[in-house]
């Protein structure tokens, strides 16, 4: 290991865990200068490391922070920083594993709505800066030949995100966003959500019924229309199913979330 690598290794260990041992190791490298003492100089870097990542969590998960309150938010920040270093070149990704942390941490896992809240906020980011692509015009269904309908496949806009939560996290997020008291947590019932970025580049979201969720998930999986109609026969009778699917396709066109029919 070169001298430079040893220095960087020592410094990084200190930043990640600024305890007395790591500080003592680091001080072997740090010059004594006039003015500020060497340990204080090191502390500036340790404080900056924590403050920067804390700010990212605070900024990226504003509603989660409000839901938790100051004390629990700081507990979450400390736990997440200790559990997850950043392998990323952009801070945009640093909180990607926050839902996982909240699901697995012995304390926070007692409150499953927290992981759902964090997960919802991550999906908002994913919709926000997903790739751009064409959007099929609203009258596109008129041009599809009758014999193509059974094998019709749908490609959604890259910003489309499907979510399944086991809590009323999104309703809580909405309440907090409007400066209202969030509802009491309700757990155990699956709730389905669609997120996307509209043509004005504004992120939107909408609740889905289970059959709508399955329909979208099937198309995202590459299934064609005939497979999808068959799937929905446990929800609608065979006369009703084509109309429901057609209505869903038309709604998605109007939302501008279909990029391509094939």
């Amino acid at each position: 290991m070169s001298e430079l690598e040893r220095l960087q290794d020592t410094m990084m260990r200190y930043l990640l865990q600024p305890d007395a041992d790591n500080e003592a190791d680091c001080l072997q490298w740090v010059d004594d200068q006039h003015g500020l003492a060497a340990p204080q100089r090191l502390h500036i870097y340790a404080n900056a490391y924590k403050a920067r990542l804390r700010e990212v969590i605070d900024t990226d998960h504003e509603m989660l922070g409000l839901y938790l309150g100051d004390e629990l938010f700081e507990q979450m920040v400390s736990g997440y920083l200790a559990a997850y270093q950043s392998p990323y070149t952009s801070l945009r990704q640093y909180c990607d594993r926050l839902p996982e942390f909240l699901r697995q941490d012995s304390f926070f896992s007692q409150y499953p709505i927290l992981s759902d809240l964090a997960g919802f906020e991550r999906r908002l980011f994913d919709a926000f800066d997903a790739a751009e692509s064409d959007r099929v015009p609203v009258n596109a269904l008129e041009g599809i030949a009758a014999n193509h309908w059974p094998i019709l496949k749908v490609r959604f806009h890259p910003s489309v995100q499907l979510c399944q939560f086991q809590s009323n996290a999104v309703e809580s997020w909405q309440a907090l966003k409007h400066n209202q008291e969030p509802p009491a947590p309700r757990l155990g019932e699956s709730r389905y959500w669609l997120l996307w970025r509209n043509q004005e580049r504004v992120t939107e979201f909408s609740s889905l019924q289970y059959w709508q969720y399955r329909l979208m998930a099937g198309f995202l999986n590459g299934d064609d229309l005939s497979q999808q109609c068959e799937l929905l026969l446990d929800t609608f009778d065979e006369n009703e199913t084509p109309g429901q699917v057609f209505a869903a396709l038309q709604a998605w066109l109007e939302m501008g979330i279909i990029s391509h029919f094939s």
Partner: protein
């Protein structure tokens, strides 16, 4: 160590004038009003995403203004292998943006694959000079262009350093044949924290390689100063900018604001102070960009000021 006597006229890209860092709250105003700003600097990592608002505004504003790209994650001084995935993303972004130039910092940010997200100082040793210069050459070969390295603010120095920061900066840039983004605020901050005279820095930094200047504010805690970029440019930094221009001539200059971001109009007015100082020192504020990039013009301007 003296500056290289290499002929520089072909090293520097054309002078751009006075710019601002492009920040999210100002996107719409910049696009709608197209203010009289000569160019914008964009933070590379913020646009290394597939699409959405950031890329939309970047493309739209890039059609109207010259852009330069400024990054924070190259980790050019790290002993980790160069992050080729990052460099591929950077190159892809550059292909899309067509920036006038690309910059990052002379520092290290990561090791063992862990990113500190901080601009950590390097020891000023010959080993580090060779190490960094070799990596800069690899990056420049990959990107197909010279890059700029920015001096960082620092709060400590290492026992094993063998030279001053400004000597280190010159040595790396000469060895790697790269350019310099001179952050005047960072010089001020480091001078306060380490007790050196900032003019010593300015007197020695190689003027032939300085492509761009950053101006920013900081937080002054009395015993030390932190480079926070969340305040207006203070008088002490403006004074140092004046001294910088006396020595370097016209260099594309911009205000870098990262926190507590004011309205666009406030930043625009602050940029006016940079124009006023440049006009005062150099007297060539109105010279068209096309005529201002040659270093000889800068020298001539300085001489003319001296005659006055």
């Amino acid at each position: 160590m003296q500056p290289s006597d290499a002929t520089s006229e072909t090293l520097l890209s054309p002078y751009l004038g006075f710019g601002l860092g492009l920040r999210t709250p100002h996107y719409e105003q910049v696009l709608q009003e197209q203010p009289d700003v000569d160019w914008f600097e964009v933070l590379s990592e913020n646009y290394m995403v597939a699409g959405g608002k950031p890329r939309y505004y970047l493309e739209a504003i890039g059609e109207r203004y010259p852009l330069v790209m400024h990054g924070v994650s190259m980790s050019i001084g790290s002993t980790d292998p160069l992050n080729m995935e990052y460099l591929r993303s950077l190159k892809a972004l550059a292909n899309a943006v067509n920036p006038r130039w690309i910059s990052d910092h002379i520092c290290w940010t990561s090791i063992h694959g862990v990113n500190s997200h901080d601009l950590l100082p390097l020891p000023y040793t010959w080993e580090t000079v060779r190490h960094v210069a070799e990596r800069v050459k690899q990056v420049q070969d990959f990107l197909g262009r010279r890059i700029l390295l920015e001096n960082v603010s620092s709060y400590l120095s290492y026992r094993n350093s063998e030279m001053n920061e400004w000597e280190f900066l010159n040595a790396v840039c000469d060895e790697a044949d790269c350019l310099i983004l001179l952050d005047v605020n960072n010089i001020y901050v480091s001078a306060r924290n380490h007790g050196f005279d900032p003019l010593d820095y300015l007197n020695v930094v190689n003027p032939l390689r300085v492509q761009q200047i950053h101006l920013a504010g900081h937080s002054d805690y009395g015993d030390y100063v932190i480079d926070t970029h969340d305040h207006d440019v203070p008088d002490a930094v403006w004074d140092l900018y004046r001294e910088t221009l006396k020595r370097l001539g016209p260099v594309s200059s911009m205000i870098e604001r990262d926190g507590n971001i004011p309205t666009f109009d406030e930043l625009y007015n602050e940029l006016g102070q940079a124009r006023t100082i440049a006009d005062d020192v150099l007297g060539i504020d109105a010279i068209p960009a096309s005529k201002r990039h040659v270093f000889g013009a800068a020298q001539q301007a300085v001489q003319e000021v001296a005659r006055v």
